[in-house]
Amino acid sequence: MDHLEELEHRSIYLIREAYHRFDPLGCLWSMGKDSTVLLHLVRKAFLGKFPFPVLHLDTGYKLAGIYRFRDRIAAEWGVPLVVVKNEAALAAGMGPDSAGRLACCTALKTEALKGALAEHGFRAVLLGIRRDEHGVRAKERYVSPRTADFTWDAGRQTAELWDLYARRESEEAHLRVHPLLHFTEADVWRYVRRERLPVCDLYFAKGGRRYRSIGCEPCCEPVASNAATVDDIIREIGEGRSEERDGRAQDKENARAMEQLRALGYM
């Protein structure tokens, strides 16, 4: 078994475990490369079917190319898509400029997810986060419980032995399941290449710039790059020394890491 096959089989096994053990199950899709790979792995696990709903937490501020990609893939793959919006917050004018980035992310993503969990009663949701994205995500488990108020106590996690994914039923309100935890950014692109997966065209350079990470229009900046194909991107990541989420201004975790660095005397 080669490297990508091993990653793929581990993910599929976990997706099937989650489907068996956590009912009802949902899957989050942001239309980024990671969660699009996640959706493809779900299709592989269930031989082309989606036995559970796929949620898009729509902030209303996504880059236009993301909506076009969503609608195209949803139609081609037969995705049972549920678009979730915090309509009340949007009606009240919520946005990064009016309320600040952290408040905006909380209202339009976190609160929207809370609303969807309450409405659909999901026991667990699949998410495409990876360990190499950020040092705090490197601490995550494959199956990660959240309490009713959504808190995650990284220091008090239960043991996760092999692939006997544990849970702590006494405290959990819902579970986050992370089938891509062991993929790196480069693995995702190599997997996209091997499986010939479609990705949003915002990832490919136009006029010397491309998005390395995609999200909301006001909070995402393209980075300098000439990578116009998947091969170019794989080469660029292999040589590059920048960080994947450098273009993500709203990144709460980065802000926190920066704060810690600053306390240690960093600029």
Binding site: R43, R131, D132, Q157, L161, W162, G265, Y266
Partner: protein
């Protein structure tokens, strides 16, 4: 080749996180921004994996993390496991997925309680290869002599628990000696650097022998009904005639379904697959498919070497959920035959209980038949957890009946 995971284990404050930070820095695996911060001293090497505020405040890893080392065209996942006994659950989370271990020993302090416990757990978890780093060697007044003492000490420990040991490397993670380069202060040492010792770890062999397929689920919403599951050892091919254990019902593999490309000829060890069977109604989650001539034996009792995770002791008569691969059963502790202090490496008289951090030989009575095998042959069928509402209370490695009698 797949990417190996290397777990860094050992006593708290012997330098695991700092060594991982040093390896990432010197191998060029960090981003430009982090490298600059680390070189200027603004970023403590240990904080590259110790990202939680509490970990940085207390200078102690609380929960295990992974970082990716890139060197010589290879990528290796470095697993930072906490060394404090309070965080043993997290250490096991990191170590249980590892292909190799690096055991750290502080040159000044030598082998301590957690060094012994972690080395024993590396053996128990069947991590097949291990190296040792005698860290903080720069602090020793006569490094060569101290290294000799520590190397003998750790080799004696490894011999006592039957752990095969590779290189024993003297190093200073703080100053970078013998980590990726040799440094100036250790001319008497001729063995590999820490990085060379890590790159020498091999990919463990795939589990061979007669096939075992754990059924995870049966799907009827797919174009044809399929039994989804995983090949735990050996190989499954279209046309195979198998039996489902327990029970012994016969099934034939008509096809191996796959998406998007129709079907596969065969599935190797470790593959998650979906089988189209002639009699899908004969299988369900928890059954193990195997060739009739070399099928496993199912039993209502399992004997295992069990490590108690705490916080409560395990007692004879206590009930748990027993989980082994896709088999979920109810279990009662029938007997505790041996009891072992994992910090002192000393047997204790079994008096009907197993305290947290102790290792015992337990007999578990199950409410149904279970397929449990020698983990050396079928890794996933040779290990289990005992769970209650708070998650895993213990984990265990199957002791085959024949070997134990």
């Amino acid at each position: 080749m797949r990417r190996l995971a290397v777990a860094f284990v050992g006593e708290v404050d012997h330098g695991k996180s700092t060594l991982i930070g040093r390896l990432l820095l010197e191998s060029g695996s960090l981003s430009g921004r982090k490298e600059e911060a680390a070189r200027s001293g603004a970023l403590d090497l240990a904080h590259i994996t110790d990202q939680l505020g509490r970990e940085q405040d207390e200078s102690c890893t609380v929960t295990s993390a992974q970082a990716f080392l890139r060197s010589g065209g290879r990528e290796i996942a470095l697993v930072d496991a906490p060394g404090h006994e309070e965080f043993i659950r997290s250490m096991l989370t990191g170590a249980s997925s590892a292909d190799a271990a690096v055991i750290l020993v502080d040159a000044g302090e030598g082998v301590r309680e957690e060094t012994r416990r972690h080395a024993l757990l590396v053996k128990l978890l069947r991590i097949p290869q291990a190296a040792v780093v005698v860290n903080k060697i720069d602090r020793a007044a006569s490094p060569e002599a101290v290294y000799g003492v520590r190397a003998r000490e750790i080799r004696a420990l490894a011999a006592e628990i039957g752990l095969p040991l590779g290189a024993v490397v003297p190093a200073s993670a703080r100053h970078g000696a013998m980590v990726t380069g040799r440094g100036a202060g250790l001319p008497w040492y001729a063995g590999p650097t820490v990085l060379e010792a890590i790159l020498a770890f091999r990919e463990p062999d795939a589990a061979g022998g007669p096939a075992r397929f754990s059924v995870q689920d049966v799907y009827d919403f797919t174009p044809r009904k399929v039994a989804a599951g995983r090949v735990e050892r050996g190989e499954i091919a279209a046309g195979d005639r198998l039996i489902a254990v327990p029970g012994g019902a016969a099934v034939t593999v008509e096809r191996i379904a796959a998406f998007p490309n129709g079907g596969l000829e065969r599935l190797g060890s470790g593959c998650a697959g979906a089988l189209v069977l002639d009699r899908p109604e004969r299988v369900r989650r928890g059954l193990v498919l195997a060739p009739a001539a070399e099928a496993p034996v199912a039993a209502r009792q399992v004997k295992g070497r069990v490590f108690c995770l705490g916080p409560r002791p395990l007692a004879v008569g206590a009930r748990f959920v027993f989980r082994l691969a896709t088999q979920d059963l109810r279990a009662r502790i029938g007997a505790i035959e041996e009891r072992f202090d994992t910090g002192a490496l000393a047997p204790r008289p079994p008096e009907g209980t197993l305290a947290p951090l102790e290792l015992g030989l337990l007999v578990l009575e199950l409410d149904g038949e279970c397929v449990a095998e020698d983990g050396n042959l079928s890794p996933a069928l040779g290990r289990f957890v005992l769970e209650d509402d708070d998650g895993p209370a213990a984990f265990g490695m199957v002791v085959p009946w024949r070997a134990s009698s």
